[in-house]
Structures are given as structure tokens and as C-alpha cells.
Amino acid sequence: MSAPSARTGYVTILRRDLLLAWRRRGEAAFPVLYALIVATLFPFALGPEGALLARIAAGVVLVTVLLAMLLALDGLFRPDVEDGSLEQLLLAPQPLGLLLAAKILAHWLTTALPLLLASPLLAAMLHLPVAVLPVLLVALALATPLMSLLGALVVALTVGTRRSGMLLALMLLPLMVPVVIFAAGAVSAAQQGLPFIAPLAWLGAALVLALVLAPAACAAALRIALDA
């Protein structure tokens, strides 16, 4: 009776969460629709002047995508807490951090990836110059996993509290300020024809750090949250 390998555990959770998302695939469209509607509101509020929109486009897309992810984050651990499967996860003879990394990856794939795919459409709606689009996509590809990892940590900390949605926003969004600065900085540098590698490299470094630390921190936070 030896326990399955950590790899088996990781794949098991990844497959389970992807399968669950597939069973409720309609819900995957919600964050995308939300981002689409929010991005549509800006031209109405500011007027359809192309030059103005082009200047703010990257920032609007970035913030909209992050806010859409924020709405979906609450679903990361809450269903598992409610049906008791999180307890089974905690008690399994597996490294909890690794299982949570699988959950976070599945969550990123099912919420952030659709947003990433929709972001060229959002950018086009806001007259972002096509030449800058690749930089925006790279910035988003680095910023969204950071949002998922930091978000998972905050969700784990607040999972024991009721009505944690607002608390989640208040705790997580300040943490995202540096991410927004570097991601938006890269795009605006590219827009002005300046070098944009440095801010992207900073995002990449932060992502590596979060990849290593966040799942383990998340595991500790969940153990504390359930110990009440």
C-alpha cells in the first residue's frame, strides 16, 4: 500500500479540475463577456476619439483582464471547501503545494487563457496599434499567471470567512500594483518606440518567484484557514 507518486497526484488534480471546468464550460465565457462589456464602456464614457483610446488602450485591457480574473478567483477553493473535497486533498499522502499548483494551473487555463485569447479583440476595439499587440500579449501572458498565483494565496487566506469577495479585492489589488506598472510600462515603452524588454524581464522574474513560493504559501494558508 504505497501512495501514488507526486506526479500521479498532480496529474489527477489537473485532470479533475479541467474536467470539472469542461462540465461547466458555459461559465468559462463569463469572464470574457465581462471584459468585453467593460472595455466597450470606455469609448462610450470617453468618446470615440481614436488617438485618446489608442493611448489608454493597453492600460484598459490590462486592468479589465485582471478585474475579470478577480471575479473568477472566488471559485478556486470555495466549491472544494463546501463539498469537503479540500479536506480530502489536505489529508492525501501528497505534497499539498504541488496539488494546489495543479489547481492553480487548471484555473489559469480555464479563466485566464480565454481572456488572453480575447484580448486582441479588446485591443482592436480600443484602437491599440497592431505593432504593439505582441508586447501587450507577452505582458498579459506574464501578468495573468502572477494574478492567479497571488490571487490563490489571498483566496486561501480568506477562504474561512464569509462573503470574502470584497475582502479578496481589497487584499489582492494592492499586490497587483507593481504587476500593472511593469506590464503597462512595457506596452507604453513599445508604443513610444523605446526598449521594453526590462519591464517584461521584471515580470518574468516575479513570475518565477511566485511559481516557487506561492503554492507552498497557499498550502500553509489553507491549513490555517481550515484549522478553525
Partner: protein, 212 residues
């Protein structure tokens, strides 16, 4: 991972002066008891006497206020002890959108599987024949319970921590729980079962732990 051969009689659970207080309000304890392989412990107490809390402490989910718990010789919550104990709580830990088969495969992927224990045979044993591919959402409360019992049968845990296993079950289901407990005891495992005393329990219960 750690192929320790199970000794003939092992003390699977060792509880010493275990007490729990919620906001300085004592809930139970101090408790002292052992549970050896081949034994079934019956935790008795009224609603609110801390039966669920006790099981959560023994599983390592909750910290006791004082006292020690050792599972198979290791401190509760020690990663090396993980997987020895299996908790069946009020929340069954089943995903409503997944089928019975997918739920059990997930559990086996995390905890491993008992030797010579096929999924389909197990489903027959717990009376869920033909329900393997039905989403758990569509099962009745009793059938969900049976699906969770199938997990007990399938996973290799030597110590079962069962919180009100008889709830929601019909007569045949109660007999099923007793049969599963028999198999567990015969294979050198042990189980700790909570009940508020409404169910006429098998007379083999070898140890009674009263919470007041």
C-alpha cells in the same frame, strides 16, 4: 513510498490527555484511549458534544488545545503519516459534476488503491452497480453516501475516521457499513465511528469513547 510491513497488532491510534476548547470554552477532554489494529472504536455523545471536532483533530485538520495524538506511531499532521487515516465527514468530498467512477478515480490517484480491489467490484459491493457513469449530482443522499463508502473500500487507509456513517442510509445501507467495518477489521485495520446512539450498532464494538 514507505513500504513498512504492518505488524501483527499495531497501535494505530494513540490519544493522550487530548482536550479541545473553543474560545476558552472547554468542548471535551481530557481523553485517553488507544485503538489497535482489528479494533473498532465507538465515539458516543449528544449533538454538540464535539464528535466531529474530535475526528477532525485525529485526522490532523484541527489542532487540539492540549494533549497528543499519534497515528501509527507518528504525530498527527506528520506528512509521513498522511494516508494512514481516511476521514469520512458530513461533507462527503464528492464532486457533484463528476460521475461516481471519476470521483473514485480521483481519490485513488491521490491515496492509492487497495490491492486486488477493482472499481466495478467495489461498486457492486456498495450497491451502486450500474451507477458508475452517473453524475453524483443525480444520486440520492443515500446513494451519495454509498459512493463515499466505496471510497473507503477502495483506498488503502488502515484507520477509518467515520463521522456518522449511518446517516441517510436505509437498512441495507447500515448492514453495508457493518460489513465494510468487518472487512476493515479482518484485514488488520481499525475504525473510529461516531454516533449519537440512535443506531443499533454491531456488538463487536470493542471500545467505547464517551464525550459529555
Amino acid at each position: 513510498m514507505n513500504p513498512r510491513p504492518p505488524p501483527a497488532v499495531a497501535t494505530l491510534l494513540e490519544v493522550r490527555e487530548l482536550a479541545f476548547a473553543r474560545r476558552d470554552e472547554p468542548v471535551f477532554g481530557p481523553l485517553d484511549f488507544d485503538l489497535e489494529s482489528g479494533e473498532i472504536g465507538l465515539v458516543e455523545g449528544d449533538n454538540g458534544s464535539g464528535k466531529t471536532t474530535l475526528l477532525r483533530i485525529l485526522a490532523g485538520l484541527l489542532h487540539a488545545s492540549s494533549g497528543t495524538v499519534r497515528v501509527d506511531g507518528l504525530a498527527a499532521g506528520d506528512p509521513a503519516a498522511a494516508g494512514t487515516a481516511l476521514l469520512l465527514g458530513h461533507q462527503l468530498g464528492l464532486k457533484a459534476d463528476l460521475s461516481v467512477r471519476e470521483n473514485l478515480a480521483t481519490a485513488a490517484g491521490l491515496y492509492g488503491r487497495r490491492e486486488r480491489c477493482g472499481l466495478d467490484d467495489t461498486l457492486v459491493e456498495v450497491g451502486l452497480e450500474g451507477y458508475a457513469d452517473v453524475p453524483v449530482r443525480q444520486l440520492s443522499a443515500g446513494q451519495k453516501k454509498r459512493a463515499a463508502l466505496a471510497r473507503l473500500r477502495l483506498l488503502p487507509a488502515r484507520l477509518w475516521l467515520l463521522d456518522e456513517p449511518f446517516a441517510n442510509l436505509d437498512r441495507a445501507g447500515i448492514a453495508l457499513v457493518n460489513r465494510l467495518l468487518d472487512v476493515q477489521v479482518a484485514s488488520g485495520g481499525a475504525a473510529l465511528v461516531t454516533t449519537h446512539g440512535a443506531v443499533s450498532f454491531r456488538d463487536q464494538a470493542t471500545r467505547r469513547i464517551a464525550l459529555s
